[in-house]
Symmetry: C2
Subunit: 204 residues, 2 copies
């Protein structure tokens, strides 16, 4: 018997998963949560084998939730649920301990497969990507420091280095350094490319 917790803020998705699993005899949905906090509370009070985690949750991201679950409930196995548009988070979810990765466009069989694989201690990655737009292998996102993220967002808001420096109470030279580091980390050589990648990956 596999006990499932669904964590997603979309009732439609919750219903979808539940309805796909309702006729499975060895699988039971023991709980649902629409945010990370409720999910953690539920896990404290109930035995769960597999948690389906949406990437976008209202409080903290599924990525962070995944990490928290791994730390506090190492026996619970996480399967990330994402839309195609969010596929770039695969690697980060797996880094944070997810044992499976399902696109929300997955079929029933794929979902059952994932549960079966993961409950047996294996990995399941659903990567049957239909390449509607980008066939790029999709480089992993570089790690950004707190300051770099701040600067990146201010750049994307249209502020110049001078204005950013004023806002952050630092020298223009400092902002300039962060900016150069951003270009380096993203392996681009101008602002246009930088912002494009940032927006496409929801770093905004």
């Amino acid at each position: 018997m596999t006990r499932i917790l669904i964590v997603d803020d979309h009732p439609l998705v919750i219903e979808g998963v539940k309805s796909l699993l309702v006729d499975q005899e060895d699988i039971i949905v023991v709980g649902v949560a629409t945010n990370a906090f409720d999910a953690m509370v539920f896990l404290k009070e109930n035995q769960v084998d597999i948690a389906f985690l949406d990437i976008n949750l209202p409080d903290i991201s599924g990525i962070d939730l995944c990490k928290k679950i791994k730390e506090e409930f190492p026996d619970v196995k996480s399967i990330a649920l994402s839309t195609f548009a969010e596929r770039s988070y695969i690697s980060r979810m797996v880094q944070n301990g997810a044992m499976g990765y399902l696109l929300k466009s997955s079929s029933k069989d794929e979902i059952l497969d994932a549960i079966s694989q993961v409950s047996q201690g294996g990995y399941y990655l659903n990567l049957n990507i239909k390449l509607p737009n980008q066939p790029e292998p999709h480089k992993p996102l570089p790690f950004l420091t707190r300051r770099e993220k701040e600067v990146l967002i201010l750049i994307s808001d249209g502020f110049t280095n001078h204005q950013i420096a004023e806002k952050l109470f630092v020298s223009v030279l400092t902002v300039d350094s962060h900016r150069k580091n951003l270009l380096m980390k993203f392996e681009v050589n101008n602002t246009a490319s930088l912002i494009k990648i940032a927006v496409q990956n929801d770093l905004i």
Copy 2:
């Protein structure tokens, strides 16, 4: 009796909608389609009152599908289904004839409300947006000429005016003009803001 067609490439969402509607006596899901082509075929052969349309479909966008349906089956009322991330498409869906707009995070009651409103000939817009990011009222996108779109894309690809000029076999000055016009039309004053808006609105 309201007959519903669900068009979405996510089985989970289809199941979710179906399962939320299964206990409604006056509502029946008469069909589902995972792409726009199948949806049109179904509409030709069946009587449908309301079509739930996902924004992102594998073949053509829900926006275009909405228009097609309005043209070929004016009696069918469309309700757009989107994730929060895709909320920027609201206005375009409505322009193309959608009578309702639901976020996939909507509750059962909201979905039933939408069906009831729309089947009575009214509009339903679910805009209970929890403002995680942008509370902006969303300006209408400026009209871009063919050339401006080309230049915009090349800018976003990280090319300089010089490189773009070479690619388009025109003078750098021309590219510069287009670029200035782009800044003017989008009411921004640098590349970062320009690309941010462009990517967020799928002009890429």
